[in-house]
C-alpha cells in the first residue's frame, strides 16, 4: 500500500519494489546533495541506507539541507538524519556512520553496500570515492556544484568510465558551496537527480548516466550532456597501485622572501609558511601594521588581479613602496 503510487508504474511493479527492498546505498556526506538523495531513497523504500558524515549541523546549512531544522544545530548530521528519515519510513534500515571517509575505512565500508552516492564537497574525497569504488567494483553517483552550475555523472558502472577518466588531473582551486555561496535549490536538484540515477540502477530501467556528464546551469535553465571517454590506463593504475591520495596543500618555491596573501580565508590551496602574511583584500586597511614596510613583500592572490589592486591601493593611499605584485597568481610561487 505504502509504495502503491510507484508500483503502479510499469518500470517498478512489485518486482521492482522487491529490488528496492533488497538494495543498499551508502551516502557519503549528508549535506546539500546527500540530504535530498537520502530523503527520496528513504521514501522509495531502499532497504538499507548508510549515512556517512563526521560533521555537525550548522545554522548556515539550513537554507539548503532542509532535512535538518533549528533544533538540530550542533548535533551530528549522521545521527540526526537517521532519526528523521526513520520517521519517514520505519520499514527500512538506516545506518548512521559518524566518521570521515578515509583511505583506511573506504573499501571496508563500500563492501557493505551495492551503490555509493557522492555528497561530498572536496576533490580529495571525490578521488578517494573513485579509487575505492574501482577497487571494490561499485558504481558511484557523482555530483558537484560551482555556484549556479552543477555536474552529474555515474562512474564505474558496468565497466564505464571513472572520475579519473573525466579529470585525470585535478586543481588546487577547490571552492566549496560554503565559500562561493549557493542557492539551496541547486544541490537540492542535483541530489534528487543522484537519487533518480540510484533508482534507475537498482530497478535496471531507463538510461543510466554512465559515460556522460550532465552540466546544468540553474540560473539560465540550460543543460548539456557531454560524452566522457574512458581512459583505461587511469583505471588500471588504481587497480595496480590502490588508492592514490590527492593532496591540496602546497609549499613555497622560494622561502627566502616575504609574502602577502590577499585571498579570502576559504581559498585553496593554503600555503603553510611563516613567510606568508594572510590578510584578505577587503581587510587590508584595518591591518596595515601587520604588513612589513622595510623588506620587499610579494603580494599574491589566485590569479594576480586582486593582488594588483591591493598593491595599487596600498601604494596610492598609504604610501607603501616595498610591495610587488605576483603576476599570474599563486601558481607562480608554489611548488608543483
Amino acid at each position: 500500500m505504502r509504495y502503491d503510487r510507484q508500483i503502479k508504474l510499469d518500470d517498478v511493479g512489485s518486482s521492482g519494489q522487491e529490488k528496492l527492498r533488497n538494495a543498499s546505498v551508502l551516502i557519503v556526506g549528508v549535506g546539500g546533495l546527500g540530504c535530498p538523495a537520502a530523503q527520496y531513497l528513504t521514501g522509495a523504500g531502499v532497504g538499507k541506507i548508510g549515512l556517512l558524515d563526521h560533521d555537525k549541523v550548522s545554522i548556515t546549512n539550513l537554507h539548503r539541507q532542509v532535512l535538518y531544522d533549528e533544533f538540530d544545530v550542533g548535533r551530528p548530521k549522521a545521527l540526526v538524519a537517521k532519526v528523521k528519515l526513520q520517521r519517514l519510513n520505519r520499514e527500512i534500515e538506516l545506518v548512521a556512520i559518524e566518521e570521515a571517509l578515509t583511505m583506511e575505512n573506504a573499501e571496508k565500508l563500500f563492501n557493505q553496500y551495492d551503490l555509493i552516492i557522492d555528497g561530498t564537497d572536496n576533490f580529495e574525497t571525490k578521488y578517494l570515492i573513485n579509487d575505492a569504488c574501482i577497487l571494490t567494483g561499485k558504481a558511484w553517483i557523482y555530483a558537484s556544484i560551482y555556484k549556479n552550475e552543477g555536474q552529474l555523472s555515474v562512474f564505474n558502472y558496468q565497466n564505464g568510465p571513472s572520475y579519473r577518466c573525466l579529470f585525470p588531473k585535478t586543481t588546487r582551486q577547490n571552492v566549496s558551496c560554503e565559500a562561493t555561496g549557493v542557492l539551496g535549490v541547486t544541490p537540492g536538484l542535483l541530489g534528487m537527480l543522484q537519487a533518480a540515477e540510484a533508482l534507475k540502477i537498482i530497478l535496471d530501467v531507463g538510461n543510466v548516466l554512465s559515460g556522460k556528464l550532465k552540466l546544468m546551469n540553474i540560473l539560465y535553465g540550460t543543460e548539456q550532456v557531454l560524452n566522457i571517454r574512458k581512459r583505461q590506463e587511469e583505471i588500471e593504475k588504481i587497480k595496480n597501485e590502490g588508492i592514490i591520495p590527492i593532496r591540496i596543500d602546497c609549499e613555497l618555491k622560494d622561502t627566502g622572501k616575504t609574502y602577502l596573501d590577499v585571498r579570502e580565508d576559504f581559498e585553496q590551496p593554503k600555503v603553510n609558511s611563516e613567510k606568508v602574511i594572510h590578510i584578505p583584500l577587503g581587510k587590508l586597511k584595518d591591518h596595515l601594521k601587520e604588513i612589513p614596510d622595510k623588506e620587499e613583500v610579494l603580494v599574491f592572490c589566485q590569479t594576480g588581479k586582486r593582488s594588483k589592486e591591493a598593491v595599487k591601493m596600498l601604494q596610492k593611499d598609504f604610501g607603501l613602496r616595498n610591495l610587488k605584485n605576483v603576476e599570474g597568481g599563486i601558481e607562480k610561487i608554489i611548488d608543483g
Binding site: G119, T120, N122, I145, Y146, L213, L215, Y220, N227, G329
Partner: protein, 78 residues
C-alpha cells in the same frame, strides 16, 4: 573559420563570458585553441581543464567551421 566556445564554472568568470564565437585559422587543433584561450584569459591550472569538441570530451581533433568547443574545469562543491 568560426567556432563557438563555451566556458563553464570558474573559467566563465575568469573569461568574463559564458560563450563567444572565435575566428580561428583553418587546421587549428583543439589543444592549440585551448593553449590560445588559456593564455588570452590567463586561466590558472590549465592542466585540469578538459575540452569537449561537439560534446565529446578528451578528443584531439582538427577544428572545423561551426564546431562547438566547451572548456570545463573540475569543481567540487556540494
Amino acid at each position: 573559420m568560426k567556432v563557438t566556445v563555451k566556458y563553464f564554472g570558474i573559467i566563465a568568470e575568469t573569461a568574463g563570458k559564458k560563450e563567444e564565437i572565435l575566428d580561428v585559422t583553418q587546421g587549428m587543433s583543439a589543444s592549440e585553441l585551448k593553449a590560445r584561450q588559456i593564455k588570452t584569459y590567463q586561466i590558472p591550472e590549465a592542466e585540469s581543464v578538459q575540452l569537449a569538441v561537439n560534446r565529446d570530451l578528451n578528443t584531439e581533433v582538427e577544428l572545423k567551421e561551426g564546431d562547438e568547443v566547451a572548456f570545463l574545469p573540475p569543481f567540487a562543491g556540494g
